[in-house]
């Protein structure tokens, strides 16, 4: 793996002009942008670029995934663990359309990604040519920006713009579609990084008057509550957030994408908000007097019923995207700008405080949640294995230092609730889009981006089978990811809803599964299955000690439920413990 991780090159400008093809220019642009690994799948309309990738293979490592969707999720995993732009590449037509799920996922989760697609030759555009599809039209609603290139001379400027737009401000996916004739065309190449786009203001300037207004509210608060989101991670404001929490003595909760920004063990980290979040931060959202939202967007899975969400509180919203202000929750003070910069300006204005009585309310509610839910999840006394105890064993074995990549469903909620984190950028999951099949390819990207880290993918038996073919990528690339499938032979979250809201009519949620261990072994990946509690610890230890990739299937109880839970349409304070 090491030799593929080339150092980021400082090639902001190639001094002189050279005459090369459009496809060679694409590779030179990627190298100039610091791309060391990209994920993709070749095909007719992108072949000239793959020919150049072959020539440049000692400078840029192309990973052949087993499906284009896998390429996008791998690029997302690469981006989420590193903060760098992930790159995915595909051919025209079905290659391009297969990228869409990953692009939509990156859009809603603000993940910086550049996708490059081949397109039929420009004279064939609109003729229903072989493998022609209008990928610009199709990708428009799910990209931050997209552009079709029909002339080689446009390539350097457009790729520079693509990387700039993908990574700046609120990050997001960009798609560049390049016709085959533009890939072949020779032109005079030079490269200059993009420094700005006149119609685009990525980071609104923090207004000190808004910061002062926020400080005034925070300093006078008796029951302040922070809810932070991924904005903290994207702006690398972890230290500033911690300083604010500690100086003002404010309990702080996180959204699913904000997880890991502050270590789990931090005494002021009071857990997750939202549908399956922790009891105390959900209930006390409706009792706090000042709600300080930082780099989050009040998703409906966080707020529950908006009509009863934090109505008693003054709301402060630190946010980079002006379109998020007042979108779901009316704010009293909006502080636009980069979270790190805004918090830096805020900190000197904040008075030291501790709010011990307010803290006690969180502790009391935690005790209730522990007795009713957590104890049975982590230390079950019944026979069936729980998802929670698997997470507990992983926590013990990795000491909370692993990056956890989760898929979508019950196991995801359990992973986010119970995974312990010591390091930021360590919770990689599909939050907004809820894309089953995300975790296995995303774990590949994460591990290749950070080979020094332990990367553990936690996946359900349903989602695993949506992108199971990426085991081939893991095998071919020798990516030492640890794959844990929590197998309950159900699409568990849907089944839970069927149980609770559809009178146990389990329509199409029960799964008859293959021999997952045999499949992993078919890819020459070490594998074992655990069905008994007494074997779990040793199996997790064996997995983490394994040099290469490892597959661990854990048979968990078939009809386990995830609690707490805020039923759809209910208030956050109506969260159910059973």
């Amino acid at each position: 793996m090491k030799d593929t991780q080339t150092l980021e090159k400082d090639q902001t400008t190639t001094a002189s002009t050279i005459r090369i093809s459009g496809s060679e220019a694409i590779i030179r642009c990627l190298i100039a942008e610091g791309v060391d690994i990209l994920y993709g799948y070749p095909g007719g309309a992108i072949m000239p670029v793959y020919d150049e990738l072959y020539k440049f293979r000692d400078q840029i490592h192309h990973v052949l995934t087993r499906h284009e969707q896998g390429a996008t999720h791998a690029a997302q995993g690469y981006a989420r663990i590193s903060g760098k732009v992930g790159v995915a590449m595909a051919t025209s037509g079905p290659g391009a359309t297969n990228l869409i799920t990953g692009i939509a996922d990156a859009q809603i989760d603000s993940t910086p990604m550049v996708c490059i697609t081949g397109q039929v030759a420009s004279h064939l555009l609109g003729s229903d040519a072989f493998q022609e599809t209008d990928i610009i039209g199709i990708s428009t609603p799910v990209t931050k920006w997209n552009q079709q290139i029909t002339k080689a001379s446009q390539i350097p400027e457009m790729i520079a713009k693509a990387f700039y737009i993908a990574r700046s401000g609120r990050p997001g996916p960009v798609l560049i579609d390049i016709t085959k004739d533009a890939q072949f065309e020779q032109f005079d190449f030079s490269y200059e990084k993009c420094k700005g786009v006149r119609s685009y203001n990525p980071v609104p300037k923090t207004d000190i008057d808004d910061v002062k207004a926020a400080a005034l509210l925070i300093n006078s608060a008796k029951k302040p509550l922070i809810v932070w989101g991924q904005g903290i991670i994207l702006s690398e404001a972890e230290e500033e957030l911690k300083a604010l929490m500690e100086k003002a003595g404010i309990p702080a909760a996180w959204t699913i994408l904000g997880a890991s920004a502050i270590p789990t063990a931090h005494p002021l980290n009071i857990g997750m908000v939202g549908m399956h979040g922790n009891y105390a931060p959900n209930v006390l959202t409706n009792e706090c007097d000042v709600l300080i939202a930082i780099g989050m967007r009040f998703d409906d899975r966080v707020t529950g019923n908006l009509a009863t969400y934090a109505k008693q509180a003054k709301v402060i919203h630190f946010e980079i995207d002006p379109a998020e202000i007042d979108k779901n929750v009316k704010t009293d003070v909006a502080v636009l700008g980069d979270a790190k910069e805004s918090l830096k300006q805020l900190l000197p204005l904040i008075k030291t405080n501790s709010h011990p009585e307010w803290h006690q309310e969180f502790k009391d509610l935690y005790t209730i949640e522990y007795e009713k839910v957590i104890k049975d999840d982590l230390y079950p006394t019944k026979e069936g294995l729980t998802m929670g105890e698997v997470l507990k064993e992983i926590n013990i074995c990795t000491k909370g230092n692993a990056a956890i990549v989760s898929d979508v469903g019950q196991h995801q909620m359990i992973a986010c609730r119970y995974a312990e984190f010591t390091t930021t950028k360590s919770n990689i999951t599909s939050g907004g889009l809820g894309t089953m099949g995300f975790a296995l390819p995303a774990a590949i990207g994460a591990k290749m981006s950070a080979p020094e880290r332990d990367v553990v993918a936690i996946i359900g038996d349903g989602g695993y089978q949506m992108t199971i073919q990426e085991l081939g990528t893991i095998f071919q690339q020798k990516v030492p990811v640890k794959i844990v499938v929590l197998n309950n032979e159900f699409l568990g979250m849907v089944r839970q809803w069927q149980q609770l809201f559809f009178e146990k009519r389990y329509a199409s949620t029960e799964m008859t599964n293959p021999d997952f261990v045999a499949i992993a072994k078919g890819y020459y990946i070490d594998a074992q299955k655990v069905t008994k509690r007494e074997d779990l610890k040793a199996a997790v230890e064996e997995m983490m000690a394994c040099e290469g990739p490892y597959f661990l299937e854990v048979r968990v109880e078939k009809e386990g439920n995830v609690f707490p839970m805020i039923p759809t349409g209910a208030s956050v304070s109506e969260i159910r413990l059973e």
Partner: protein, 176 residues
């Protein structure tokens, strides 16, 4: 919750392929009907100006303006009520020429009273053009419909605002 009213949305953008898709998708995904849409050059070189009419509640309108402004190639978006803008639509009526000879006096009176004009006349048909507010165009439509309208078309709204729009200054600020 306020009642939906007609807003005139004005958007200044770069002149790029595909932007129509991007803008219309913002309305489409929220199941909002666009009453009329017009795109043209603006007072600034290489900058397009869009005029869109939608019926919305004010808070919904504000959120959509935020989503429009978020698009990379949108320079600035505004929304205005009817009394904050000067606006016009334009329409064309194609009518059989025999009426022009058989009912000449009546047709001339209608054209004069409505501040319309004849664009062209030939042996088969003649064409009347009228610019104005929607209600004025509708009155003319009713009056001409007794003659049988062979073809009718009406443009989207075009509008200028009573207030200044500081687009040039914004673009200058970027250059520095």
């Amino acid at each position: 919750m306020s009642e939906p009213i007609a807003y005139t949305v004005t958007i200044y953008t770069e002149n790029n392929i595909g932007l129509l898709n991007r803008i219309s998708a913002i309305f489409q995904r929220r199941h909002i009907n666009i009453e009329s849409i017009n795109s043209s050059v603006s007072e600034i070189e290489n900058v397009s100006k869009w005029t869109i009419v939608v019926k919305l509640q004010e808070d919904q309108m504000k959120k959509i303006i935020g989503q429009i402004e978020k698009q990379v190639e949108v320079i600035k978006a505004y929304f205005h009520t009817e009394d904050e803008t000067i606006y016009q639509e334009s329409c064309l009526f194609k009518i059989k020429s025999n009426f022009l000879f058989d009912e000449r006096e009546q047709i001339e009176t209608i054209i004069k009273d409505n501040n319309a004009r004849i664009v062209t006349v030939n042996r088969e048909f003649f064409v009347i053009e009228k610019s104005g507010r929607r209600e004025e165009l509708e009155i003319l439509y009713r009056e001409l419909s007794v003659f049988g309208i062979m073809q009718f078309t009406r443009s989207g709204r075009i509008a200028v605002t009573k207030d200044e729009m500081k687009i040039s200054k914004m673009l200058e600020a970027f250059q520095h």
